[in-house]
């Protein structure tokens, strides 16, 4: 039997599959289907220092092979997360990534400091939310912005720090390198791509926020490309995500350079997707005589420039 365990920044995950932030809440709804220990980890719904009510509806629009969302970081705030959700989550036998977003660098730092005093396993710095006016993506789209926020948070963060990158940038390799240089222990990528749909009858955008984040199979090739490009620029592990929907996608993302994976949108199509992806991945490893997941990471054999 192949070894499914992986290590991210010194934290051992029982398998490489992590529920992506925003798709999984704090896990309770999905625990009805299977024990959450089925998953290597859970990245919690993005939390902010204070409670946020989120954007007005509609927040969801379907797209070819995917969807747009503009939830806008609706969450109960860090204190209630720690009091009401974390104790329950801790009992589920899986790794916990606390995904944090802020309006200002100071808020990010304060949250990193607060969460460093709890038993979350990793902190995922969300500098890539496309659906809020402040605190999301404006820190994540320039090298200077990334370097600034990551290095500041680094001083307050005593947990392994994962930086979640935005795909809405010109050169993902530069951004990845900036995050690593500023002290990130790992990267997770990609967040959603900014998109828009319009109702041709009313001439109104479908989303009340006008624009939203595109996810699902439609973004998968973009995510593979970006993970592959980032892999060539950094030494720290990359948690790959963006449209991973089946075990074949999982293998592909690992080959591109991911050390672990997050899945989100596919859960809406099939809540049992994690179970199926892990079964398929295990079979693929066994059938191909691959001893462990890390043996796949970054093993794509790209063509050389001369073809």
């Amino acid at each position: 039997m192949a070894e499914l365990r992986v290590q991210i920044a010194g934290v051992t995950l029982e398998n490489p599959l992590i529920a992506a932030s925003g798709a999984f809440g704090f896990g309770r709804e999905y625990s009805e289907f299977y024990p959450l220990s089925t998953l290597g980890g859970i990245s919690c719904k993005g939390i902010t220092l204070k409670e946020r009510s989120g954007n007005p509806p509609p927040r969801i629009a379907e797209t070819p092979s995917g969807m747009l969302n503009s939830v806008g970081l609706q969450n109960p705030g860090v204190e209630r997360f720690i009091r009401e959700d974390l104790p329950w989550l801790r009992e589920q036998g899986t790794r916990i990534l606390a995904n944090i977003a802020g309006n200002t660098p100071e808020e990010y730092c304060e949250m990193a400091e607060i969460l460093s005093g709890t038993d979350v396993d990793l902190i995922e710095l969300n500098i890539s939310c496309p659906n809020v006016k402040q605190g999301g993506v404006q820190f994540g789209t320039s090298c200077a912005g990334v370097e600034g926020i990551v290095s500041q948070v680094r001083r307050f963060c005593k947990k392994p720090l994962v930086v979640k990158l935005s795909p809405n940038v010109a050169d993902i390799g530069e951004i990845a390198a900036a995050a690593e240089a500023a002290g990130a222990d790992a990267l997770s990528m990609i967040n959603t791509l900014t998109g828009m749909r319009i109702d041709i009858r009313t001439r109104r955008p479908i989303l009340h926020n006008n624009t939203g984040g595109l996810s699902g199979p439609a973004v998968f090739p973009v995510a593979v490309r970006m993970v592959w490009q980032a892999r060539q620029r950094v030494k720290i592990p990359i948690i790959g995500m963006g449209g991973v929907s089946c075990w074949q996608d999982a293998v592909e993302m690992l080959l591109a350079g991911a050390s672990a994976l997050q899945i989100g949108t596919v859960l809406f199509t099939d809540p049992y997707a994690p179970v199926k992806i892990l079964d398929g991945l295990r079979r693929y490893l066994d059938e191909n005589g691959i001893a462990a997941v890390p043996d796949l990471t970054g093993q794509v054999r790209p063509y050389g420039k001369e073809g």
């Binding site: 509806p57 199979p217 099939d270």
Partner: protein, 254 residues
């Protein structure tokens, strides 16, 4: 059974009961036993990312009944399936109607494709109930006999006057005062019904609709503004609803 789960369910019967409106019974003994009036299911559409939320119209004899309208590519695809085909169904979901003890007089108010979500509740509260069902025109009228068989006194309204009362369904609300009102339909209708019930001092429950992703309360996509404990906040149609007490809904201004 789990509170909700995914199962592959064989279609037992399918019929087009009005132009573009389909009546489908699926074999689902566990879902049928667990389902409550007002709950819904998320049905997988091959090739689509998001499931389609469809209200449970009825549950009986180990089967679930869905009556849905073709609105786009997803529902059109579902309408192509027929007896013997299987649907991948996530159910039963959401918070349904809170039914009062029998004996009270219920008023059901349905508008168009908002009529089916009321039938299951009407079958439990039928005797002595009134059902006021509104449609655009005669050929869109659905489930009139079903409500009658449930024991309801049925009034049909059509906007073009081609059947029953000529006008909006809200024009035939007046009658013996009900003890409880249950409504589903377009937003202007729901607002009017809620206002009418408020004036009469009658408790009123409304079934809402919103664009939805997970259907479970995890993704927070299907937001609706609620007033709870004196403060306004976004609740979610899939988990807090689809049925809400009319007094807690904060209607958005267009």
């Amino acid at each position: 059974m789990k509170r909700y789960d995914v199962q592959s369910c064989r279609i037992a019967a399918k019929r087009e009961i009005a132009p573009g409106i389909f009546d489908v019974w699926v074999e689902a003994p566990e879902f049928a036993a667990a389902a409550q009036p007002g709950q819904f299911a998320q049905i997988l559409v091959p090739g689509k990312t998001l499931r389609r939320p469809i209200s449970i119209c009825d549950a009986a004899d180990g089967m679930l009944r869905f009556v849905f309208q073709v609105r786009g590519g997803g529902t059109a695809r579902l309408a192509k399936d027929s007896a013997g085909d299987a649907w991948d169904i996530l159910a039963p979901l959401g918070h349904g109607f809170s039914l009062p003890a029998r004996g009270g007089r219920a008023l059901f108010v349905g508008g168009g494709i908002g009529v089916p979500p009321l039938l299951f509740a009407a079958r439990q509260l039928g005797a002595g109930a009134r059902a006021v069902l509104g449609f655009r025109s005669r050929d869109g009228v659905i489930l009139e006999e079903d409500f009658a068989r449930a024991g309801c006194e049925v009034a049909v309204a059509t906007e073009d006057g081609s059947a029953g009362y000529h006008g909006l369904v809200t024009g035939c609300l007046d009658g013996p005062d009900p003890d409880a009102v249950f409504a589903c339909g377009p937003t202007p209708m729901l607002r009017a019904v809620a206002a009418w019930a408020e004036e009469k001092g009658v408790p009123c429950q409304l079934s809402l609709e919103e664009r939805m992703a997970c259907g479970l309360g995890a993704c927070l996509g299907c937001a609706c503004k609620l007033r709870r404990d004196g403060r306004e906040e976004y609740g979610h149609v899939c988990k807090d609803g689809p049925v809400f007490d009319a007094r807690e809904i904060v209607w958005e201004v267009e």
